[in-house]
């Protein structure tokens, strides 16, 4: 009756996380509430005054447009943050991966555990946003529950390629640059804050290729109950799954090269 190896590695991350989870949960809840007040109600009041905006936003008030986006952006940010420094640290400074490599564990177990970890962190962060959204009548819906895994998937999809990068780096110098020039643009132009149709086509592309947009589209559809064809949903999921799988395969190869040099 043995526990699968990735779960046993996951326990390690959980043991470390146990020390900070309370503070972490509080921020995870407070932040979206403040954000929904400011963006949803504050900015929303301005947006909703504009006659044409309701049509552009799909016939909903601004808060109903932006809140589902928050599910996905939160998961995306958590997925990215959990993938850069912590992965590099476990490889280089903390040497936890090296310690694991001296046991029967294999690189694939380490990578699978990391996927589980990203699912856990993005999933719980998205769940906290969903809980915060339940306070706002405009966005309260059973669809929130279905939106959590969609948000989670887009967070893991961004996280895994970044993890593959981080696990192979000798230094962290590139991480702030990645944050500023990759993560922030994806965040801003991923369709969370305004419809991509507002942008010139050149910039719109950023949105379409970004894992975020695919997550946002699903969250918005599930939460507001607007229609999405099964094929479209499948397309979004498949696109994100490719990020996860390709990221995991590359991460495994790079981790193996480094740990078993």
């Amino acid at each position: 009756m043995s526990t699968p190896a990735p779960l046993r590695v996951f326990e390690w991350k959980l043991a470390v996380y146990r020390q900070v989870w309370k503070a972490n949960l509080l921020t995870s809840l407070l932040q979206p509430i403040l954000y929904l007040l400011a963006m949803g109600l504050g900015v929303g009041a301005l947006v909703n005054k504009n006659g044409g905006s309701a049509r552009l936003l799909g016939g909903v008030p601004y808060i109903a447009f932006v809140a589902p986006g928050l599910l996905a952006t939160t998961a995306m940010m958590v997925g990215a943050i959990e993938s850069l420094w912590p992965v590099h640290d476990a490889m280089k400074w903390g040497r936890q991966y090296e310690a694991m490599s001296a046991t029967p564990l294999e690189p694939s177990d380490i990578v699978a555990a990391h996927v589980l970890w990203l699912m856990f962190r993005t999933g719980t962060a998205a769940a906290a946003v969903a809980a915060a959204m339940a306070f706002f009548p405009d966005v309260r819906s059973w669809g929130l529950i279905a939106a959590i895994p969609a948000a989670m998937l887009s967070g893991v999809a961004l996280g895994m390629p970044l993890s593959a990068w981080a696990v192979s780096r000798e230094r962290e110098m590139s991480f702030p640059i990645i944050q500023r020039f990759i993560i922030v643009p994806l965040f801003l132009f991923g369709g969370a804050f305004f419809p991509l149709s507002q942008l010139p086509i050149g910039i719109r592309i950023i949105g379409y290729v970004s894992p975020l947009w695919h997550g946002v589209e699903m969250c918005r559809s599930w939460v507001s109950g607007t229609h999405m064809t099964a094929l479209a949903a499948l397309g979004h999921v498949a696109y994100l799954a490719v990020f996860v799988v390709v990221g995991a395969v590359i991460m495994r190869r790079l981790a193996k090269e480094r740990l078993f040099a």
């Binding site: 390690w12 470390v16 040497r95």
Partner: protein, 321 residues
């Protein structure tokens, strides 16, 4: 703690070696770190790799630990091939790496339990063993403190306790006591000696001759990726040194002019930057002769020869620069 199946096998007895290496090589790009070495380690033995920085000790240990593929030659552990059976072999190894890889964020006990989980122990069993092991390394009172603030010697003991959580047949220790003060070192030696008595096979690397003398039944001296000598500590001293050594210290910078007094008073002599060593069967006799020659050393010391002297003889260099 378990042991190899046969405790302390006699050399030549028909026992399969725990580790068999022949022509073992490790190459990083064009650089040859381990250059065709041969050795066997028998169950129950304490076997040492002794050598200066960059000799290839860690590279060899990592190949034995199945975390570094060999670049050539043969390597077998428990009769298995690391390239094919890495995880199965690692299940039976305890590894103390040169640099500690404890999780500083976790407590001492958590470090052991989590590591036990990597070997698929149940949580209860891992906790039970962690308790015993912390007792064994005398850290029971630190079980619930975080690893981060512990001293170097304590961390080393935690790492050793951690390496024993899977009750390994073979314990690999890469420089177990480097950087520790003498007291911490003696505590560790004592624990390792007990493990050996319990029948655990030990393979260790060290810079220190006294450590090799204390712990190893047999050792190889490595230099620049090659084995330059092997045997028991006593054999190596007998073959490559004399029974005693006379150390003469002269006024700083005057070794060259004083060398003449040391020449011929023993079997041979060696001029080091800070002293002149005379190798002799009887150090006191050699000292008397040197003084009769007219030597006026600031201090003179007669001591037993050590593996340090062996290394100096074999490579022309002192071991710890």
């Amino acid at each position: 703690m378990t042991a190899g199946d046969e405790a302390s096998a006699n050399a030549g007895a028909p026992v399969a070696p725990l580790i068999h290496a022949s022509g073992l090589r490790k190459q990083f790009g064009d650089f040859v770190a381990v250059d065709g070495i041969d050795f066997d380690v028998q169950p129950g033995e304490a076997f040492g790799f002794l050598g200066p920085n960059g000799a290839g000790k860690s590279s060899t240990m990592r190949m034995i630990g199945c975390t570094s593929p060999t670049s050539g030659g043969t390597l077998q552990l428990f009769g298995l091939d690391p390239a094919k059976d890495g995880p199965a072999i690692r299940r039976r190894l305890g590894v103390v790496p040169q640099m500690d890889s404890l999780d500083n964020e976790l407590t001492v006990e958590e470090n052991l339990v989590i590591y036990g989980r990597y070997f698929d122990l149940s949580r209860a069993e891992a906790r039970r063993r962690a308790k015993d092991l912390l007792d064994f390394v005398q850290l029971t009172d630190r079980a619930t403190s975080r690893v981060e603030p512990l001293s170097g010697g304590m961390k080393r003991r935690v790492t050793i306790a951690r390496s024993l959580i899977n009750q390994p047949d073979l314990l690999l220790l890469d420089e177990p006591t480097t950087g520790l003060d003498p007291q911490a070192r003696h505590i560790l030696w004592d624990r390792l000696y007990r493990l050996k008595q319990q029948g655990v096979t030990l393979v260790l690397t060290t810079h220190y001759m006294d450590e090799a003398e204390q712990l190893c039944d047999r050792l190889v001296v490595m230099d620049a990726g090659k084995i330059v000598a092997q045997g028991s500590p006593r054999q190596l001293i007998d073959e490559h040194a004399t029974r005693e050594v006379l150390e003469l210290r002269f006024r700083a910078g005057s070794n060259a002019e004083n060398e003449q007094y040391a020449a011929g008073v023993g079997d041979r002599h060696e001029v080091l930057p800070d002293r002149i060593l005379v190798y002799a069967h009887n150090g006191d006799e050699a000292l008397a002769k040197a003084i009769a020659n007219g030597a006026q050393p600031e201090s003179a010391l007669v001591r037993r020869s050590t593996l340090e002297d062996v290394f100096l003889r074999l490579t022309g260099r002192t071991l710890v620069e």
